[in-house]
């Protein structure tokens, strides 16, 4: 089985978000970039398939040269090879088309992506990618087993979960649950050394549709001061008469 894990390079979840250039760009100053947490769960699941089912695992990202430290981290965690498509990932449709080229050229059976990137929260790359390639697709995937060409997955729904059967080739949008939090892999020294020798191929983007562009950003309005109360009578009164939510 040949697996491609799609890695989105995003600000650490604790980052303060600011905009620059007249609020037209995200301010990367002082921001630490990491593997998108949803992708980290997927990557760890891919490592399980590598160890237990002899899978080959490649990782791919669409991004500029600055994303290489994030892909090296994925290699240090254990991926065999990496591919970087040298383009700014400003639109989900565009990113999916670039990844579709990577998949076509690499003959992958399973594509593991995340439910959404924690930067622009698009939640669209895996679904568009699957449709472009005519592959099966399962979103908000919290469990995945592969047996030959058959796949069994569990997906999170609004009111619980749903068990799904399908077959390879398959694209998933994964998230927390795919592996236990405590099983998430942290690169060790040996992994980091080995990662330096692993193949990282840079390819140029193909011409593709850019369906959307962000023209301006803004931060949420500052929050008013909290009203502290010291008893529940007062709280119920405020929720009813002032906030009008009960």
């Amino acid at each position: 089985m040949k697996i491609l894990v799609c890695i989105s390079n995003v600000p650490d979840t604790t980052s303060k978000i600011n905009f620059t250039d007249g609020d037209t760009k995200f301010d990367t100053n002082g921001v630490q970039f990491v593997i998108n947490p949803n992708d980290e769960f997927g990557l760890t699941r891919a490592m399980w398939f590598k160890e237990k089912q002899d899978a080959t695992v490649h990782v791919a990202t669409v991004g500029g040269p600055s994303t290489e430290s994030t892909i090296r981290k994925a290699l240090a965690i254990g991926a065999d090879e990496a591919i970087r498509v040298n383009a700014e990932p400003t639109d989900g449709f565009y990113v999916a088309q670039q990844l579709a080229e990577v998949v076509k050229n690499g003959d992958y059976d399973l594509i593991i992506a995340g439910r959404e990137s924690l930067d622009y929260n698009g939640g669209m790359v895996p679904g568009i990618l699957a449709t472009l390639l005519g592959m099966n697709f399962v979103n908000t995937c919290i469990s995945l087993e592969i047996d030959g060409a058959n796949a069994t997955a569990v997906r999170e729904i609004d009111s619980g979960k749903e068990k799904i059967t399908t077959s390879l080739p398959l694209v998933i949008g994964g998230q927390k649950g795919l592996v236990l939090e405590s099983d998430l892999k942290i690169p060790n020294m040996r992994g980091i050394m080995q990662a330096r020798q692993k193949k990282l191929t840079v390819i140029e983007p193909v011409d593709a549709l850019k369906a959307t562009e962000d023209t301006k950003f803004e931060k949420p309005a500052a929050k008013g001061a909290i009203k502290l109360v010291d008893n529940v009578d007062e709280l119920v009164n405020l929720l009813h008469n002032e906030a009008k939510v009960i």
């Binding site: 979103n139 979960k161 909290i226």
Partner: protein, 322 residues
Amino acid sequence: MSILVYTESENGKFKKNAFEVASYASAVAKQLGTTVTAVAFNTSDASSLGDYGVSKVLNITNDNLKTFNAKAFANAISEAANKETAKVVVLSSSADTKFLAPIVASTLKAGYVPNVVSAPESTSPFVVKRTVFSNKGFAQTQINSEVKILGVSNNSYGIHENSTTAAVENFSPSLSDSDFSVKSVEIDKVVGKATIADADIVVSGGRGLKGPENWGMIEELADVLGAATACSKPVSDMGWRPHGEHVGQTGKPVASNLYIAIGISGAIQHLAGVSSSKVKVVINTDPEAPFFKAADYGIVGDAFEVVPQLIEKLKEFKAQNA
């Protein structure tokens, strides 16, 4: 040309978000000087969409579509969009709809903007406002494709009545076996209880509650309020509560009218996921807990004292206001 809206239903009845997306679609139709067509699956009350400005409903009756199937639903919606030459397709932000939206986008070669929070800022160029960075910012996003797909954030636009008469038309999308190559074999869902996605009120507990045995009072508070229950990430990681209850940046988003956080410190990743709730209440022993900076109302106090009192008070309040 019209605006197409996908109105979600469950057991034949529209979900609340169906009326919100219909209201939203009517606003867009007004801006563009056109009408709204809805597409609905196996519903018995299709004409009720007229109350929210929908003038035509493509009603699909098909036993194979009784259970949600992303690809089949997406293909039916895309076919409806083509039939109506829709230039804008309006969708909700439920888990099911977020599953099918990218399939529709890809099929229609349309730009898809999720997490939209208000009616389009302009229609030429077509620009909408959406949340980005898990509610830590907003973006004005311009869509350049001919067909545009908008995913409306839960509870962001609201339900607005706008009475018209909806003509209901039967619609039979052409489906093939390959639309069902991803099969649902078992659904395990909580019934008879509000879900985090739909609830007006969400009651959430954190590590401050010390252990799963103490969730009785959280359940009871939720019951009194008709609320959904939720929790912080460590609570689900430790197995005190099911994973589906975890809210925040890496869990489910919460956009309820009221969010009550009990024994939750208010870490940045937690706040990011719950901040679009309209009113937030915090109950915490530590006055320095970051949640006090993000909430509207707060009680500095021990949950084990405050929550039982709050339940009693709310029961009294409900009895008086029944």
